[in-house]
Amino acid sequence: MPTPLIQLRGVCKSYPIHDRRVDVLTGINLVVESGTFLSIMGPSGSGKSTLLNIIGTLDRPDSGEFLFNGKNMQSASDTQLSRFRSRTIGFVFQNFNLIPGLSVLNNVKLPFLYASVSRLSAEKRALEAIESVGLAHRMDHKPSELSGGEMQRVAIARAIAIQPSIILADEPTGNLDSKTGSEILSYIKALHDQGATVIIITHDQQVADYTQQRIHLLDGRIAERL
């Protein structure tokens, strides 16, 4: 049996809020095989984003284990984790998170800056990614000149340009109208069809229905698996 891409064992996380610690995740066990399309649902405050951030190595669990490709990420240094992110993880956020001062092209090229990829191949891969989301004509525009849907497509291009092993999307359609939302979703589905592992946080039952694997979080625990 091949090693699963992601393994979480008894992951706990709490945050200090004022002088109290609030438990956000309380013992999460999760296995995600490579090529899976996983959706995470749950009410706000149930720990969805925290879970996604831990998988994305932006956050570390207080206790429990997080294994990526069988490798424990707990002991990795900040630099190692950053390197790991730049090569294996593509983020898509609800609020797009593009850098306002940079053009579409430079936003998409941003991850290559930290992934030690040669300038030429970075340029080529960034262009391909932009073309694949149909924004070649917007290459030199600033994010502020784009519509919400276009911005999210740029964000997707940025996420896929590095050809990551896994794409993490935190409510990617949350800030978009339903029409553009489904358009964005179709891009994400297409990525999965091409073999990418995708984890998506969503409130949309329709989106969730589409995914192969679903988990429902409630008060920091997985309440339901499908």
Partner: protein
Amino acid sequence: MNKTLSWIQLSFNSIFQHRLRSFLSMLGIIFGVMAVLTMISISEGAKKELLEQIERLGTKNIFIKAAQLTPSQKAAAVEKLSSGLTMADGSRILAGCSQAKLIAGLNEISAAVRGISGNESPQVVAVSPSYAGLMKILVARGRFFTPFDQMNHDMVCVIGNTLATRLGKNGNIGNLIRIEDHLFKIIGHLQEVDPLSPGKKKTAISVRNYNEMLMIPLGADGSIIARDQETQLSYHGGITELIVQVQDSDQVMAAGKVIHRIMEIAHNHVPDYQIVIPRALFIQARQTQKLFNMVLGAIAGISLLVGGIGIMNIMLATVYERTREIGIRRAVGASRTDIVQQFLIESIILTFSGGLIGVVLGSACAVVVSRIGQWQTLITPWAVLLSVIMAVGVGIFFGLYPAVRASRMDPIIALRYE
């Protein structure tokens, strides 16, 4: 390399996006560097001027100048049997001071030279044959005096280069020139020397302009001075200046003390002379310089501190403003070190550019000062380098805290920042 280049480009973008803000924050550095460079160039210029003068006077030389006495002092001098500065003092020094190697006497004479166009009469001095060697005066044509000229009180003269030009044909070697009622034969022309810019600061001894000078052998001056009965009585071979050269410039201070003692005894404590050691002037000037440098350093330090605080302020604002960007960069793979480097490069570019502008303005300022203030200024490469390095240093020092602060941000919080 790839990364650094991209960051420099990004930093320039960010600086240009906030042109006015960046410029204003640079002002402190600009003025700091400008002030530092201007002051260093003034100080260097003064140093160079002084060094040139001292070099011209000779670092191995000690000057003993005849001092003017008040009538009452004169009376006391007669009582104490002091007859003013004479070549006899030179002989005493040669005998008594082991370091003394050569001496030369000089007597300034107020005498009119006839047959020269223009109204400025050249300065006439009577000098020993050794004077040329001691003062490193070179002869362009003809020859300088020999001891025989002095012994025989030969009526010969050597003239400066400009004077020779002014005299025209009459100034040719072999021609006669009239000084008061006596004819002197021209035997040599001096090589042209660079007349030092007449500095406003007078040192205790000024450098003579040999180009405009007429020299006769010491001894021959008696005939000019003693042209009337009254002065003839008081003429006793006095000189206005005695130059003593020592073997080595290191011995000059010690020799100065010995000479002081010899003169004190010979002149019976009559202060009718003054001992000037160019090297001592130099040492004294260096002391002044040290003080000046300290003041300069303090001013530089304060202005750069103020400039640095300005940079830190703007960098903190930039970091705060770009919190979201920092979060995004962290998410796509920037490590803490990457973030530190990015912001550090930005602050260094700010101060470096400020430093360069400051160097340009400072150089311009130095030129203006030398034009208007008639001060010699000197912009040395090390001063420019030092200014720029200081500016960059300020960028690193004051940029580090904002940069580290940026890198310590929690990426998750930064990403949600509105």
